[in-house]
Every structure is written in C-alpha cells, then in structure tokens.
Symmetry: C2
Subunit: 261 residues, 2 copies
Amino acid sequence: MTFADATAVSPAGDGRFHGGIEPGWDILGNADGGYMMAIAARAATHALGRPDPVTATAHFLRPGTPGPVEVATEVVKEGRRFGTASATLERDGTPLLRLLGTFGSLESSAAFERVDGSPPDVPPFDDCVELEPTDTFPPPFMGKVVVRLHPEDAFAGGVPSGKALVRGWFALRDDEPVDTLALLVGVDAFPPTAFNAGLPFAWTPTIELTAHVRARPEPGPLRCIFSTRFITGGFLEVDGELWDSTGRLVAQSRQLALLPA
Amino acid sequence: MTFADATAVSPAGDGRFHGGIEPGWDILGNADGGYMMAIAARAATHALGRPDPVTATAHFLRPGTPGPVEVATEVVKEGRRFGTASATLERDGTPLLRLLGTFGSLESSAAFERVDGSPPDVPPFDDCVELEPTDTFPPPFMGKVVVRLHPEDAFAGGVPSGKALVRGWFALRDDEPVDTLALLVGVDAFPPTAFNAGLPFAWTPTIELTAHVRARPEPGPLRCIFSTRFITGGFLEVDGELWDSTGRLVAQSRQLALLPA
C-alpha cells in the first residue's frame, strides 16, 4: 500500500472526512506521529482545495492504533494565496491529534534567495545503513518508509556517537515520489536524537511538531539532519532539515518532546 | 498600562472572552503579532486553568487595530500535566489570529539537563541601544516594551551588519516582570532580521509563529538572539532564543514569514 493510499481520506460532509490508520505504520504499537499528521493534513488540503502545507503544527494528544479514523476540518481563513485550516484526527469522537496549518500551492518561484547552509554531510545512499523493520526496534514503520542512516550515527553502527544528531536519507517505498504531504512523515521518521547522544532515557514523546514546507521535492531520496541543542526544563527540541536531490531545502521542522519524568 | 492590563480578558460564557487591543502596541498602525498572540494565549490559560504556555503556535490571519476583541476558546484536551486549547482572536466575528497551544504549570524541575549553547553575546544592558518609540520607525510599540539592541546590529548604529541576525535585551516597561505570557511578546518584539542583513525588501509579514517556553524567567531583562538562515521559496524563518538573567534558556521560537512578491 502506497503512502498516498495509507493517508487517503474521503469526504463525509460538513467538513468531516473518513480515513484510516493502516497497520504497519507503527512504532512499538503506536502509529508514527508524522504519519498521523499527514492524514490530518491531507483532509485539510481537501477542505481548502490547496495542495501543499506551507506551515503545519500538530499537537499529539493520544496514541493512534490501526483502524478507522475521522478528520474534522474547519476552514479558518480563505485568502488569495493561502488558506488556514484546523484538522482534528479522531477515533470514536476522541481526538488523537489536532493540526493547525496554512496551505497553498508551492509552485517554484523566482523570488530572492539567500541560503546560509547546505545539505547535511551524508555519505551516498548506498553507503548508508538501511533500517529494516522488526516487531520491536527498528519498528514496523521502517517497512513503510525508507530510512538510511549515516554510518557514524547510532543504530547504524550500534554505537551512539555522543552527539544529539541523526543524519541520513528518507524516501518512500517502491519509488513513490515524496510529495509535500509525505514531507510531514519525513520530519518525524528518524530515530530520536536522544538515542544517538546516549542520554539516560529511552523514549521522548512528541508534544508538538511544526513543519515548514519550502518547496515540492524533486524526485529522489532526501538528505536529512535532526539535532537537539537544549534538553532543559523537562523538554527537548528536535530541529530537522530535509533537502532534495537538487540540493534544495524543502522542509524545516521543530518538535517539542517530553523527557520521561 | 501594564502588559498584564493590556492583555487582560474577562469571561463572556461558552468559552468566549472579552478583551481589547490597546492603542500604542502597534507597528505602523498594526498591533504587534506577539502582543495579539499573548491576548489569545491568556484566554487559553483561563479556559484551561493552566498558567503557562508550553508550546504555542499562532497563525496570523488579519492585522489588528486598537479596539475591543473577543477570544473564542476551545479546550481540545485536558490531561494530567498538560492541556491543549485553541483560541481565536476575533473582531466582529472575523478572525484575526488563530492559536493552538499546549499549556501547563512550569514549576522548576530537577530533570536531566544538557545544553549545547549559551546566552547570546550581548553587551551589558546599559551599553546597548534602546529603541525609542516614534510615530513611524521605531514604532509606537517600542513605548510598550523595552528593546535594547546590540550596538553592532542595525538600527542601533544605523548600518546593517550584513548578517541576518538581531541581538539585544527585552524587558517590559516600569520593571513589570516578564512572565511566560510576556515571553510571547518577547519572541516577536525585535526588528526583522532581514532589515539587518540589508536585504532588498522592507517588510516580512509573519504567517505563523511557534514559541516553546521552557521555564518561567527569573527577574531582570532577557538576552535575546534572532537569526535567519534560509530565505528561499518566497519564505524565510526567524529563529529566536530568549535567556533569563540566570543564564537559562526560557523560550525558543521560530516564525515563518513571507517575502513580498
């Protein structure tokens, strides 16, 4: 089943959409957050009639398991270039995730550009270490996407580097193109930075994730980097960048995650 | 009038609150975005009975001018440690801003900490250049907050540094303590990074701003840094950090702004 099929929604009237959390998109039984976010965002694209998330924020309320879901959308504003919508992913009336996003059509533009940065230093795709799905870790979710890690980063060689940094490649299975909705999965597909730093906690649940999408990716795997600078106050951020095969930044993300108490 | 008074809201039943955009909190006639965000966030704190924003995202829909406003809140989830709410700042039923946030009580914690970073290199408060309000620029808003810029940054000495970087101090007037709601103003109080870089556009309207609040600030002005790395696809991000007088990171922010077409 493609990503497009696994995130498909159908209109149910009054701004509501039917969809489903498909089996296999989980990490230890709970659906990947970026995957759930993509389902909600797809419903918002339909509600607004605009194909691309420009900036989307998800607050993660409850874990998701396979089965039918509904997305309740609300159009907050319709503008000329952009539209803003709220989308709540629900099961049996209980919200699992709330998304707020501004959407538009990311045609390539010839606007002024100035980039202070470059794609992350990641070895060629074939030289990186693919995470193969297992029943536990790496999780089943790795069978639905392609994540290849920098050999120097944790899980690739088995030794945490000591840096709160994870780098690698992201793609969809079976050469399915990564569209702007799939970028929402890409920004939440890698192992936690905390793991790689060898920090004394095993799991950092996401409270909120915001992704900015700058452009539609050109075909090919994406070079990705995720890093954490501040573990403080019981929280940590994870900053992400996704770069396409032409060396263009296509998404920037930040999530706030919780340290186990 | 204090910040607390300028953002006060009173319950109007059914999750709605009365408030007002006060005169003088504007930039060329439009209310500061962080100020409007703080009004919406204050209503959300009341709706949830939780004092501190932990992560709050605002999408800016229409400019705000002085006068009465209403905030329509919706409690999305009540959890043990956190609650999530939506808050829409409206005038005459038209939304100006939509906020989605998770709130809690940021008591100091003894959790594991690891910080890869330090407060920005800003000269002492008295050696920085205060932005005094005028009718145009610096804007009237500067009479409501205290912003003192690093002498090397634009507007302080009059010469853009060429770097998309703005550093300085933030405080409220009359020694009013900066609480976690006032941090939402702090993350949007400085001149645009683009100005300082001498880029060929004069104004970059904010589409969306997300702030993570890590801790309640200790008394005293805050050291702040704002920077932009990616001007691409017709957008730019502004990343901010606010550090309190004890050298602790209290807020991290990112906004997505639009290049004029």
